[in-house]
């Protein structure tokens, strides 16, 4: 019996665990980030920053602890996910620290430096990753919580409606003494668990019990019910919380998972039609969304008249001034963008100070994380693992596209955070947890099958020569 049918691109039975590769890459990621930090200090003050050692040690500790946890609890995990996330997190910290030094920001009374908080949140995030690896011995356990996750996700999504809007979007909840939390970031993961569990059970019904109509497979009404519900729900989020990004994310994730589960192209067509109809419908009466669209169509037309448009134009100018090689860390003026420069618009700082070259590198790092996630899905042996992995990496890809495309003026700006890089506790913690789950699934997928038990009859079957 051979389980070595190497149909996937990853799981060879004799595959080395690659833990040492991962360690070297994590060290490399930490080194790059420390260089970035030193670069900022030299450019701004002409000397190595005082906190450089602490920052370097902190980041090395985070990467090291995460690595040790992976080595101990998920020895066969994909070796790229952790270093890539560490690199983005470290680079993000350096950029946030750089923006903290901005004199323009320091002149604003409400401004508070974010780098040290971000380092703390990163530590919490890595703690979450370790927790996931320690507690979640097998990702299939999550299947048991399908409907509970739906409930939790719904609660998390609805909660912000009872809190006041911040900068036009109701996506925050405020807990006294703790601070503000963006539950949507966590809901993303939990809802992926629900979708994976639900679709794994219903996939046959959705895929097969359908009528053919004009070349498309139309699903039955009772199977269509949940998808209509999710669609309506994402529209509701958009309307009540004016959070275009999240609705796009949840809906996109659901369509991707549905398509993978049923292998029916018709779901994609339905998904696109419905999201299109929803977006156009909402855009006709929601001024917040209309502002974003006009700002996207011609960012410079609303200069001086409209904040959204001006912010968009400033972001484009930041990218433009970076040019091919960038101004160098600490030497740009991306802080002209204003209050969201270190969160939604952190990529503009990358674009201005690291230039086109830096942008391409960062986008490729994101792309690599996504593709490693998709590979994990390919390699996973159980449908639940496949669905969960593709759901998480698909939502990661959509989020990167929506945020980066938004700040670069490719699509209307929606106001989500760039995973790992942007300042924001919820985001960085949730994304570390997401990476934790992917690492867990990839560990299961790449783990070699147990060697067949030695057969007691082996000797008996030897050919005896006369």
């Amino acid at each position: 019996m051979s389980v070595v049918t190497n149909t996937t691109t990853i799981g060879a039975i004799d595959a080395p665990s690659r833990r040492n590769t991962e360690l070297a890459l994590v060290a490399f990621a930490v080194l790059i980030s420390v260089f970035a930090y030193a670069n900022v200090g030299l450019a701004l003050n002409g000397e190595l920053p005082a906190g450089m050692l602490g920052y370097g040690l902190g980041l090395a500790l985070l990467g090291g602890v995460a690595h040790l946890a992976v080595r101990r609890f998920a020895p066969y995990a994909d070796p790229l996910l952790l270093p890539l996330a560490t690199l983005l997190n470290g680079l993000g910290l350096a950029l946030i620290w750089r923006l903290d030094q901005s004199e323009r920001f320091q002149a604003i009374k409400t401004f508070a430096p974010a780098a040290s908080k971000q380092l703390m949140f990163s530590a919490v995030g890595v703690a979450f990753l370790v927790l996931v690896l320690v507690v979640l011995k097998d990702h299939r356990i999550l299947q048991r919580y399908t409907y509970i996750s739906m409930l939790v996700a719904l609660v998390l999504l609805i909660l912000p409606m009872f809190f006041p809007a911040v900068n036009g979007a109701k996506i925050w909840i405020k807990i006294p003494g703790v601070g503000t939390i963006q539950p949507g970031e966590f809901a993303k993961i939990i809802i992926a668990v629900f979708f994976a569990g639900y679709l794994m059970v219903k996939r046959d019904a959705l895929a097969l019990a359908s009528r053919r109509f004009m070349g498309l497979y139309l699903p039955r009404g009772r199977d269509l019910g949940p998808i209509l519900m999710v669609w309506a729900f994402s529209i509701l989020i958009l309307v009540f919380e004016t959070d275009l990004g999240s609705s796009l994310l949840f809906f996109g994730m659901f369509v991707v998972m549905l398509y993978v589960a049923t292998e029916r192209t018709s779901w994609i067509v339905f998904g696109l039609l419905m999201s299109g109809a929803g977006a156009v419908g909402v855009a006709t009466f929601e001024p917040h969304v209309q502002d974003r669209v006009t700002a996207w169509l011609d960012p410079f037309a609303g200069w001086g008249k409209e904040a959204a448009s001006e912010q968009m134009a400033k972001s484009l100018m930041a990218f433009g001034s970076g040019g091919t090689l960038g101004t160098g860390l600490g030497q740009g003026n991306s802080d002209l963008i204003g209050f969201a420069a270190n969160s939604d618009f952190i990529l503009a700082t990358v674009g201005e100070e690291l230039g086109l070259a830096g942008m391409m590198a960062v986008l490729l790092v994101y792309g690599l994380i996504v593709e490693r996630g998709v590979r994990t899905a390919l390699a996973a042996r159980d449908p639940f693992g496949k669905l969960l992995a593709i759901g998480l990496s698909g939502s990661f890809a959509i989020q990167v596209f929506v945020v980066a495309g938004g700040v670069m003026g490719l699509i209307p700006l929606t106001g989500m955070t760039m995973p790992f890089m942007a300042a924001g506790g919820s985001s960085v913690i949730a994304n570390w947890a997401l990476i934790g789950i992917l690492i867990r699934i990839s560990d299961t997928a790449r783990r070699p099958a147990p060697a067949p038990a030695p057969s007691p009859d082996a000797e008996m079957t030897q050919v005896v020569r006369p």
Partner: protein
């Protein structure tokens, strides 16, 4: 499930690819356009990140740069004796752009000019801090000071030229302003500028270049030049055909003289000496509008003058007969800038050759290498040397023994012409006092000057070119002569 997974992988790849294409598009294809965008504050930040070059008079800068901390603009422009030099330098403000020399020579002053390309490239390698180049002006500090002090609290302007080269020696305008008060970009700067803009005395108006006045009797030297050039009269001491009283053509109005002066059939010399309206009005009428325009054009009328700062065009227009007669004595629709009248005086002093007025002698790279030197250039030839000398004799008589005695300088030949220009409806407003003159030494004339005083405060009867304007012209000429 693997087939759709591979498609999703492809889809995600396309998303990332779209982002890569987009970042290339905005950071490579559109970079220049975005960098040049008018709203892009980086342009200004870069612009004020270096010390601006200086505008230099007599080897000393009249400008400077100070470091500021209140905004992201590092350096701010300051002026030494701002109100005196403002008509020359213009202003350069972080918030309100720049004007005049500061604006025209901005490329050199900021160091961004293409002319400084090699210099910039060189300092990139030597690691020198970027600074701007300098503009060396032709101005004469003493003459400027004399002009500014002479005008004092009065409203008016002075323009002085070196007739032999066209170099601008003084350019004063009062009331003036200190460009330093709004060089920054704070609220105080904005308020200071707003106050200047709303001031009804218009302190920011450069009266020497940008205000046209009726030139009054000072224009009679142009009319005299036209008469000589066109052969209407050849001898400045022969009697002219000038009846008294003289009736304006196509009109029942008689042209008046100021007071009871001997103008009947007066010679050119006597007519200029006493400033006879009747003689010159009739002369202009006899020559006709076309010839008068032609002569005025030769002196530079009807055209903007670039020094390189633009001066408004002085106007001698096409007109009907009575208007042309009045324009011949510097009234009616005849209007001139002080610079224009200084050009008239300088062309006469320079034996008929009008030199192109200029005020930038040299442009210097930041390392003081000279990258441009002005070569003197003849603008036109309004009259022959012979006729120019005849007009000189007439003007010298005015100063020696006529209306312009206030401009006499011991031991120096001075020629001049007074003017009292009526203006306002029915001449109801207080007239402008004019004086144009030149001084002459053995080596030709080193200075020609035009002064206008529009002093609404003076008693109407006291206003006369000889009384108000001539002393100012005298002190300016003296300042130049003393420096020789």
């Amino acid at each position: 499930m693997n087939k759709p997974l591979r498609r999703i992988a492809l889809f995600c790849g396309i998303l990332v690819l779209a982002l890569l294409v987009r970042t290339n598009y905005i950071q490579y294809v559109r970079a220049d356009e975005l960098n040049a965008n008018e709203h892009n504050r980086r342009v200004q930040i870069e612009r004020y990140a270096h010390e601006r070059g200086n505008i230099i008079v007599d080897g000393e800068p009249v400008t400077g740069s100070v470091e500021t901390t209140d905004s992201d603009f590092q350096y701010k422009r300051v002026w030494k004796n701002g109100p005196m030099w403002a008509p020359v330098t213009g202003y350069s403000s972080q918030a309100f752009d720049s004007s005049q020399l500061e604006s025209i020579e901005d490329g050199i002053l900021t160091g961004n000019s293409d002319q400084l390309f090699f210099d910039r490239t060189l300092s990139m390698f030597t690691g020198e801090k970027k600074t701007g180049g300098n503009i060396v002006t032709t101005l004469n500090g003493a003459a400027q000071k004399a002009a500014f002090k002479g005008l004092g609290a009065k409203k008016g302007a002075v323009a002085a030229l070196d007739p032999q080269t066209g170099a601008v020696l003084a350019l004063a305008s009062t009331p003036s302003y200190d460009p330093s008060v709004f060089a920054g970009n704070s609220m105080e700067d904005s308020d200071a500028r707003q106050k200047l803009l709303q001031d009804k005395d218009k302190p920011m108006l450069n009266r020497a270049l940008r205000e046209t006045y009726p030139p009054g009797s000072t224009f009679k030297v142009v009319t005299a030049a036209a008469a000589l050039e066109n052969g209407l009269y050849t001898d400045i001491d022969e009697e002219t055909d000038s009846p008294l009283p003289w009736r304006l053509p196509l009109s029942t109005n008689l042209l008046q003289n100021e007071g009871d002066i001997p103008c009947e059939n007066a010679s050119l010399r006597e007519a200029l000496r006493w400033s006879c309206n009747t003689v010159f009005g009739k002369m202009s009428n006899d020559l006709g509008n076309a010839k008068m325009i032609e002569q005025a054009d030769k002196f530079g009328f009807n055209k903007e003058v670039f020094t390189p700062v633009r001066a408004d065009a002085s106007v001698y227009p096409k007109d009907n007969q009575p208007q042309n007669a009045m324009a011949g004595i510097g009234q009616a629709s005849n209007r001139a800038t002080p610079l224009q009248m200084a050009m008239v005086a300088s062309a006469i002093a320079n034996d008929g050759k009008l030199m192109q007025p200029y005020m930038v002698a040299q442009r210097q790279a930041p390392n003081l290498d000279v990258i441009y030197t002005h070569e003197k250039e003849q603008l036109s030839r309004p009259l022959s040397a012979e006729n120019a000398q005849k007009v000189q004799q007439m003007m010298e008589t005015v100063v020696a023994d006529g209306t312009g005695t206030n401009a006499q300088i011991d031991g120096v030949t001075v020629g001049g012409k007074t003017g009292t220009a009526q203006h306002g409806l029915n001449n109801s407003e207080k007239p402008y006092a004019w004086f144009i003159s030149y001084a002459k030494t053995d080596s030709g004339s080193p200075v020609a000057v035009a002064v206008v005083v529009e002093d609404g405060n003076a008693n109407r009867d006291d206003i006369s070119g000889g009384g108000l304007a001539a002393p100012i012209a005298k002190s300016v000429m003296k300042a130049v002569l003393d420096g020789k």
